[in-house]
Amino acid sequence: MIDCVENRLLTSRRGLLLGGASFAAWAYLPKFARAADGRDPRLVVVILRGALDGLSTVAPVGDPDYAGLHGSIALAVDGAHPALKLDSFFALHPAMPEFARMYRDGHAAVIHAVATPYRDRSHFDGQDVLESGYAGPGRVQSGWLNRALETLPRGERVSSGLAVGPTTPLVLRGNAPTVGWAPVALPQADDDTAMRLVDLYRHRDPALAAALSQGLQLEKAANGDDMKRKPGNQLAQMRQVARGAAKLMAADDGPRIAALAFDGWDTHANEGGPVGRLAFLLGGLDGAFAEFESGLGDRWRDTVVLVATEFGRTARVNGTDGTDHGTGTIALLAGGAVKGGRVISDWPGLKPANLYDGRDLKPTTDLRSVIKGALQGQFGLSDRVLAETVFPDSAAAKPMKGLVA
């Protein structure tokens, strides 16, 4: 109906800058620090919702128990789709050549066997802990990245946090000002959501199962694709989100801090090994890294992209060629400012006795230490601010040193 004129509130960056006194400008770095080395740091936080299988992304191919546990979906350094060797022990998923190149150039790092303090395997609560920065779920409606932003000294430049996507993720919610951006064309319901719904209907409502399945088939036919619902669409979306965010952040008056989320990592069934569902998503993530690198241009030099997920997945493949909710997993860092080319891990081993609860990769590093290290390296936040304000009551999780060049 054309009489529904969309009245979007559009604000140009110029408008944002001239937006009056109500809109505070926040600096990203104390002036003396900038003057000292001329760095202009940027931080992008990427949340992977659904719990990423760290053992399938950065595989401990050197661990004698890995191949047996991960079974049909284990990666290997030989075969038709060999994993990309990172060192003598770990190999990267073959769908991530861009990250592999950054790693070789010393601008990407992996931290393995990490977890937040949360141990109960619920996506909602796990994401709440990951993003809020508190030790337990449901305690607060603000995120650690926003609180970090709040502690930065105010200055003359706009460096509000940029929320990429239809809403501001919890990690960036709070008192510090943020700006929002999303691609105009939001994606349609993804394949995973559609399949979950069809499955529910099959059990509870066969008529709706038939109708929805048919509707999805019709769409596939219309798109001339019999594999997935517009798979290219989802990959293109991931790249588009990264490209847009990079463009905004590259500007001199653009935000220095951004957060976004990618969905779909809850691979309970048909996860796939070197090819398949997870490979497809990792390809999308790899594309996003490439977009950040090219879109940020000269600024990539001073950038850290931090990728984190709420928890890991079971070490043992399940009965449906997937993995269930687990504990330890990986965090990824990429960017010109990353002191990379390393897999940082106090490897716990995959022997039955070494698994957490006898089923998960045991976490040996607190994810908060990794995040603190990135914040400290980029913005110079003190141990005390990180332990009291950004991650309350987290003094035991010391910032990891030397992540940023």
Binding site: L16, G180, A211, L218
Partner: protein, 518 residues
């Protein structure tokens, strides 16, 4: 206190617009006394009428259209005078719901989600390369929106008032009845500018005052409303032997007369013949509304034009109606309203709408008897429906219409719409454009119509967009409690618990059988 969550679902979903989220306590209240919860609304007479700032009467709105059309005409003539070679401009075309396929799903879904996200500043979408402060302060730069004409503005104002009412009421039974009767006696806004501007007023003026009143009064109010007379062409119908008919060599238009009997009262096979249709058409000649000149009365108001009325007695359904001007038609309508076929037709339709696509015959018979016994007392009819055992025993197999689905979603999310655009666009997309059915028989009322493959896929897309925009602020399991509590199936609960994010959980909850069926 005994709580019956399954009965609460019947109370809230079969009879109402679904449970409201937040601190409403709707599901608990409905579970404590399901029938009482539904019937309580029938006792609130003030909950029937809809009055809101900016809502105008049918004559006022008619005059606004006439003035607008005059302006367009003057502008066109001025342009012609200035550039005589230029091709004549088109008058603003009316928006036809048939164009809904031209809408981009993403635009629509973005809108619905965006506007359902109320004024949370963090949840706005901007074009690429533009950002918006997620601050409480108004943004600095705001481009002027494309101005709407008076017809579009009115349509949106009316739609918003209706949506806000449906979102805020406790159970929603009365609002569901309004929607039922409004669809039974439908007009279509796509008929033209007058129909579009009058669509909301028609419902407020002809339907609402009688939803708990008498059927005969509603029938008369509907058939004498300018919107209906315009929609079914009666303002063009002239008695062949009337003064105007003789002068203009034009005659009857049977459109309204036929639909009165076929769709509004007796129903197909209700015992009328083509001769009866013609007779009724003659009887209601002269039922029209005053035009822009106001020669017959206040422009835009119902008038009886004696000059167009067919003189003489008419035989209708075996009875002779003596010539009495306007009273001749009013007497005929009063009799048709009392006809046993009408009682049967209305009872069947009401049970089909609320209870099951195949209405239980015993319940239909009971409602038919109530209708006859009370002379079409619609409050008694609604009460009898709520008092019936069938309505509480029949499984919840009816599919929510797109309108039901969107309103129920908004209620569960406790979001009062501030702008109707999102709802209007989604309704277009899902095949139920507001007040704009494709024919005088209104929108379909069976599950098959609304559980179609394409429609289900689009519902999922819209639910996913709502999830993406609103999911990160909600607890999906709390919402499931508000929506269905322990009446939710184990599979639905597990599906929501296992969702990989709150956003996905919300989409799945909105699409769950508990939210789709009523």
């Amino acid at each position: 206190m005994a709580r019956d969550s399954q009965a609460a679902l019947v109370a809230l979903n079969r009879f109402g617009f679904g449970a409201r989220g937040g601190a409403s306590g709707d599901l608990i209240n409905a579970a404590s006394d399901p029938r009482g919860f539904v019937k309580a609304e029938l006792a609130r007479r003030n909950g029937v009428l809809l009055e809101a700032p900016g809502l105008q009467s049918t004559p006022q709105l008619g005059q606004a259209v006439f003035a607008y059309q005059d302006q367009v005409k003057q502008a066109r003539e001025a342009a012609k005078a200035a550039a005589p070679t230029e091709a004549p401009q088109q008058a603003p075309a009316d928006q036809k719901p048939g164009l809904r396929r031209n809408l981009s799903l993403n635009t629509v879904a973005t809108e619905i989600a965006g506007q359902m996200a109320d004024a949370k500043p963090a949840d706005t979408t901007a074009k690429p390369d533009t950002m918006q402060p997620n601050a409480a302060a108004p943004p600095a730069a705001k481009p002027a929106p494309q101005p709407l004409n008076v017809i579009q503005k009115t349509f949106r104002t009316e739609a918003l008032a209706r949506l806000q009412r449906a979102t805020l009421v406790e159970c929603g039974f009365i609002e569901r009845l309004v929607v039922f009767w409004s669809n039974h006696f439908c007009i279509s806004a796509s008929k033209g500018e007058l129909a579009r501007i009058w669509a909301g007023a028609f419902e407020r003026e002809a339907i609402r005052p009688h939803v708990l009143g008498r059927f005969a009064d509603m029938l008369k109010a509907v058939e004498q409303h300018p919107a209906m007379l315009f929609f079914l062409d009666n303002q063009q119908s002239l008695g062949p032997d009337s003064r105007a008919g003789q002068n203009r060599k034009r005659g009857l238009n049977e459109n309204l007369a036929r639909e009165i009997m076929e769709l509004h009262t007796l129903g197909v096979g209700g015992g009328y013949t083509q001769g009866d249709v013609t007779s009724l058409a003659r009887i209601i000649t002269g039922w029209t509304f005053a035009g822009r000149q106001g020669q017959l009365g206040t422009p835009g108001s119902f008038v009886f034009n004696a000059n167009a009325h067919q003189p003489g007695p008419q035989m209708l359904l075996g009875k002779t109606y003596e010539p009495a001007g306007l009273a001749q038609g009013e007497a005929a309508l009063a009799d048709i309203a009392r006809h046993p076929s009408t009682a049967n037709f209305i009872a069947t339709k009401l049970v089909r709408h609320f209870v099951a696509d195949d209405p239980p015959p015993a319940l239909v018979a009971r409602l038919r008897d109530v209708f006859v016994r009370t002379d079409g007392d619609l409050k008694a009819l609604a009460t009898a429906l709520v008092d019936s055992d069938e309505a509480w025993k029949a499984p919840l197999t009816k599919m929510r219409s797109p309108y039901d689905f969107l309103v129920a979603s908004g209620r569960l999310l406790a979001r009062v719409p501030e702008d109707p655009g999102a709802y209007l666009n989604s309704l277009n997309l899902l095949g139920q454009p507001l007040w704009s059915p494709s024919g005088p028989n209104g929108f379909p009322d069976t599950s098959a119509a609304w559980a179609a493959p394409e429609g289900m896929k689009l519902r999922l897309d819209i639910a996913a967009q709502m999830g993406a925009r609103l999911g990160n602020n909600i607890d999906p399991l709390d919402l499931l409690e508000f929506a269905a509590a322990d009446a939710a199936s184990i599979e639905t609960r597990k599906t929501i618990e296992r969702a990989e994010s709150r956003q996905q959980a919300l989409a799945l909850l909105l699409m769950s059988p508990e939210m789709q069926r009523r």
